[in-house]
């Protein structure tokens, strides 16, 4: 019977065909033999795809991984975390400060404070070696001018109504100003000047210079238009010559200016705006120098220039218009965000973009004309595998060279001769945050007791296999801002009970803690999908229950967690992590002005002493003073315990053992070095020196 035979034959043939394909596929050992080119390719796996390959627009870590290779910033961080020049060869930081002249006042010597008089007085003082003017390099006089401007004012409404907003026309009379050029940035400069001039600065009343026909302008609003004093920090970058973008065009100061403008253009919706908003102006000084002036003192602003620089000639208005026309789209609504550049970027980094298959891979090839010399590896492949377990499996099958491993995986593979593993302190810490708007958490003794009940060391040892370190405050442990003398909370459930008893919480008949008949009960939440946080949640719940606290736990999806709970301040306690920058600025996370909806001080921490420190820290350009203040802030926060600071996780990477660094020795022969982790929490500082060898080689460091 034909039909019967087909019915039996067809499945057999299909099955055999599928199975025989196995014999064509290379095994782990065969991959290099079959294709020596495999040695020049480096494959890294990631669970998520990049979203936009443009450093000014990207906000996710996968995009950042690619962008740092394709683009290069003016500066980056060196091995010791200090700044290192990249596109910029050298830089200088100084300050331009402005003082408004108030001619109605008198100088300390009794002479009227005319512009000329003031200037002469200051010049004389400088010549006499007055310490307040020690940093001053130059003093000059700027002429005043008048203008008419529109501003929006809020006025109290009629009889108990809501305040109304309206546009008001104001006449601004800007008096002459004295411009000081300082050798260094000094946030206390005007305090000293004020002392020198006998309270002159303090007495300047800006509302005298701003007049409106039919409205009263407050002193604060007037100060926005005519600031009595102004600090303008300046960064002067000298740019490296002869650096090429991947298309052969030379990099120059125009690209820096363009990049800044691209970030600030509202239509581009750049997530980096807050970093660059304090910039007042970016002015090219010739092709190879650029002057960056800031509106106000903002020390962390300097670090933002690690951001990759875009090529202006491909993205300026003309280029975008041409692209829109080519694509048949309306040039009017066509912004940087719409450009194909974001899918096939061109930068000046050590690798150039080659291909991007969404949710599959991104391929970069080395840039042969890179200014520091071409990398050793020819190709960088960013492979997207959404599932952690299969990512591990591809690693075993030899089709990926590295992946961000979990602690238990490193623990299992640390002695496997095929692999090498790296673990180094990261920049992120995990904490339990308490909503201090809730009455139970207002008492510092309660917050402290909750922290003391948790055996953090046990979590580190067993949940994280030792791949974490305890932390006591909000700064990365590898920076100087972190004060190593702060003691962590002890693990002491008995002590915690005593503290709670001091705060009025006592055990009832059933063993639950209560105060005035109210049980101590709250809900601990965290986002789903993070195994470590989930473990911390379970451990904390367990520990607190043992004290007699009724704790409910809840995990929710990230978007819900952030939008519904965190942003609205609608939670009791939560487990989260911060990934810290390397600067000392904590204003947005801990300042009491940042507790509103959608702001980052969602626990509602408020301490006037800490507030003042945070403001001064972000204005301080002197490293030593900044470090001293940061350490003081660290201690303050550790005492207040707005968070229970738990631990800093270590960054873990598993690599194929055959990956090493190759450098040229003094005699021109290659020398092999092992890859070493760096303080930044990465291992790729020397990525351009990496090679993959056919057999394991001996390394000399």
């Amino acid at each position: 019977m034909r039909v019967k035979r087909i019915l039996i034959l067809a499945p057999t043939l299909v099955g055999l065909f599928l199975l025989q394909s196995y014999f064509w596929v290379p095994t782990f050992e065969d991959q290099v033999k079959g294709d020596p080119g495999r040695l020049t390719r480096y494959i890294e796996t990631s669970i998520g795809d990049a979203s936009i390959l443009n450093p000014t627009l990207a906000a996710d870590s996968a995009s950042a991984a690619i962008n740092t290779l394709v683009f290069e910033g003016l500066i980056d961080r060196d091995l010791d975390l200090s700044f290192r020049g990249r596109l910029a060869e050298a830089w200088e930081i100084f300050e331009e400060a402005y003082l408004t002249v108030d001619e109605t006042q008198r100088l300390p010597d009794g002479a009227p404070a005319t512009a000329d008089g003031l200037l002469r007085y200051l010049e004389r003082a400088r010549a006499a070696g007055e310490p307040a003017l020690k940093l001053v390099r130059r003093v000059e006089l700027l002429l005043g001018r008048s203008s008419v401007e529109q501003i929006e004012v809020t006025e109290p409404g009629p009889e108990g109504r809501k305040p109304v907003k309206r546009q008001v026309e104001v006449t601004v009379r800007q008096p002459p100003r004295i411009k000081f050029t300082l050798r260094e940035v000094d946030q206390d400069f005007f305090t000293k000047i004020d002392r020198l001039l006998g309270g002159y600065v303090d007495r300047i009343d800006p509302s005298r210079f701003v007049k409106a026909a039919d409205s009263i302008i407050t002193r604060e609003r007037a100060a926005e238009l005519v600031p009595p004093t102004e600090h303008n920090p300046v960064v002067l970058f000298r740019l490296r010559k002869g650096i090429l973008f991947h298309d052969g065009h030379e990099f120059d100061s125009g690209d820096v200016k363009f990049t800044y403008e691209a970030i600030m253009a509202p239509e581009n919706l750049s997530p980096r705006v807050p970093d660059f908003e304090p910039v007042k102006a970016v002015e090219p000084l010739g092709r190879y120098a650029v002057k960056i002036t800031y509106k106000r003192l903002f020390e962390p602003g300097f670090g933002s220039w690690t951001m990759g620089i875009l090529p202006e000639h491909l993205l300026n208005r003309d280029a975008l218009r041409a692209e829109a026309v080519r694509a048949g789209r309306d040039p009017k609504g066509f912004s940087l965000r719409h450009s194909q550049f974001n899918r096939s970027p061109i930068g000046s980094g050590s690798f150039q973009f080659d291909a991007w298959k969404t949710d599959q891979f991104i391929r970069l090839t080395r840039f042969d004309r890179y200014w520091e010399g071409a990398p050793n590896l020819r190709e960088y492949l960013f492979r997207i595998i959404p599932d952690l377990l299969t990512a591990e499996v591809t690693f075993y099958a030899g089709t990926s060279d590295a992946y961000g491993a979990q602690p238990h995986q490193v623990e299992r593979l640390r002695h496997d001769p095929r692999f090498q593993n790296f673990s180094r302190l990261g920049l992120g810490y995990t904490y339990i945050g308490y909503n201090m708007r809730r009455p139970i958490f207002q008492d510092v003794r309660v917050r402290k007791a909750l922290g003391m009940a948790i055996n953090v060391q046990e979590i580190i040892d067993y949940v994280l296999y030792g791949q974490a370190e305890r932390t006591t405050g909000p700064y990365p442990k590898q920076t100087e801002f972190y004060d190593p003398t702060v003691e962590p909370l002890p693990y002491d459930p008995e002590g915690a009970l005593t503290l709670l008893a001091d705060a009025g919480w006592r055990r009832n008949a059933e063993g639950w803690l209560e105060k005035n008949g109210q049980p101590l009960a709250f809900t601990l939440i965290t986002n789903s999908g993070n195994e470590v946080r989930k473990a911390v949640m379970v451990v904390a719940q367990n520990a607190w229950r043992r004290l007699g606290i009724k704790v409910e736990t809840l995990t929710m999806e990230w978007a819900v967690f952030i939008n519904e709970r965190v942003d609205k301040g609608d939670f009791d306690a939560l487990i989260l992590g911060w990934s810290m920058g390397l600067d000392a600025d904590l204003y947005q996370i801990f300042h009491s002005s940042q507790t509103g909806h959608f702001q980052l001080n969602f626990v509602g921490y408020a301490n006037p002493a800490a507030d003042a420190l945070m403001v001064r820290i972000r204005q301080e350009y002197n490293r030593e003073r900044q470090v001293a203040m940061a350490r003081r802030l660290h201690r303050l926060i550790a005492v207040d315990q707005p968070y229970t600071f738990l631990f800093v996780g270590k960054g873990l990477t598993l690599l194929d053992r055959k990956l090493v660094r190759m450098v040229e020795g003094a005699d021109g022969t290659p020398r092999y070095l092992t890859i070493v982790p760096d303080k930044l929490g990465g291992i790729t500082f020397h990525f351009n020196e990496w090679v993959k060898t056919a057999e394991p080689v001996l390394t000399t460091n």
Binding site: L388, L389, E392, H408, E458, S528, K534, V538, Q541, E557
Partner: protein
């Protein structure tokens, strides 16, 4: 079911349902399935008893970090674990998980939750199915606003519901509404009523013109009452079959959702989320994957075989063989 026939003058004849039952009992695989289901019920109820409350007999939430990843049947480390945290049974029957919690206790706790996910979801689906199917079958010819008949509307609804890729839709909705145990039950229920509705409609369409229905109507029995008392009992067989298979499907769907991170969230343990948590440690602790995975396989298989046995038993054509 069909009591009327059994007590009537023709009682000597064997009722169809009893015939079906006998035929079912002859199918040993189906009987095994049924027994496994019953056992699952018992285990789930027992699990509820021993794991609930503030101080349960077997505490599924007890964390013992020092005793993490203990293999099944291993003994607790008496030196590192505080006395009050030691397992009540003196041994980790099914091992411990990544936080040192007793897998046996967690499985017991999860059994009831998994079961209730299946039951509630299917309950919702069957209720909607019966209502829609009943209305379409019985009132099918009534026209709404002269535009279309009730039957057209409901079959249209069924068509719309069937057109959606069910799992993707469930995933979308659960992701949007956030995965809570109730959302998951309701969404699974809301997306799996079409089968029941079709069966019920067909059954009622076939029966509504028969004498006993006409007689009931002539006596002035109200519509819903006719449907409930006279028509539905005859449609019980297909409903039962699809409900049984539906429970199996719901348990599977929940585990698939768990895998994608949209399952029943902790602290409720289900076999699905125990499995999807455990699979992260497949290379370190096989039992965290194998035990819940196999448990799901067994119980879903049991429901499926049970349902299939019922289906065959109620199909008179096949029974005669």
């Amino acid at each position: 079911m069909a009591q009327g026939a059994a007590t009537g003058p023709a009682a000597v004849m064997v009722s169809p349902s009893r015939l079906a039952w006998r035929s079912f009992l002859r199918d040993r695989i189906a009987v095994a399935g049924m027994m496994a289901c019953t056992l699952f019920f018992v285990v789930a109820l027992f699990g509820l008893l021993v794991t609930k409350g503030d101080h349960p007999v077997l505490d599924p939430r007890q964390v013992r970090l020092a005793d993490k990843f203990r293999a099944p049947l291993s003994l607790p480390n008496r030196l590192a674990v505080p006395i009050e945290a030691l397992p009540r049974l003196g041994v980790y029957l099914l091992g411990t998980d990544e936080l040192g919690r007793d897998v046996f206790a967690r499985m017991l706790e999860g059994a009831f939750v998994s079961l209730s996910v299946g039951f509630v979801a299917v309950g919702i689906a069957v209720a909607i199915g019966i209502i829609f199917g009943g209305i379409a079958g019985y009132y099918g010819r009534v026209r709404i606003l002269r535009l279309m008949s009730v039957d057209t509307l409901i079959t249209g609804l069924i068509d719309v519901a069937l057109s959606f890729p069910a799992f993707f839709l469930i995933l979308t909705v659960v992701a949007i509404l956030r995965p809570s145990i109730w959302n998951i039950m309701v969404v699974i229920g809301l997306t799996s009523w079409e089968g029941t509705a079709r069966f019920v409609r067909a059954e009622i369409l076939a029966l509504r013109e028969q004498d006993f229905v006409q007689a009931a109507r002539a006596l002035g029995v109200s519509g819903p009452r006719v449907i409930l008392r006279h028509l539905l009992p005859n449609a019980v067989a297909p409903v039962l079959v699809s409900a049984t298979l539906g429970i199996a499907g719901a348990i599977l769907t929940e585990s698939a959702l768990s895998f994608l991170g949209f399952g029943v969230p902790p602290p409720d343990a289900t076999w699905g989320n125990i499995l999807s948590d455990g699979k992260n440690y497949l290379f370190d602790a096989w039992w965290l994957t194998i035990i819940p995975g196999t448990a799901i396989l067994v119980i879903v298989l049991a429901f499926n075989l049970f349902g299939e046995g019922l289906r065959e038993a109620f199909n008179p054509r096949l029974r005669q063989l």
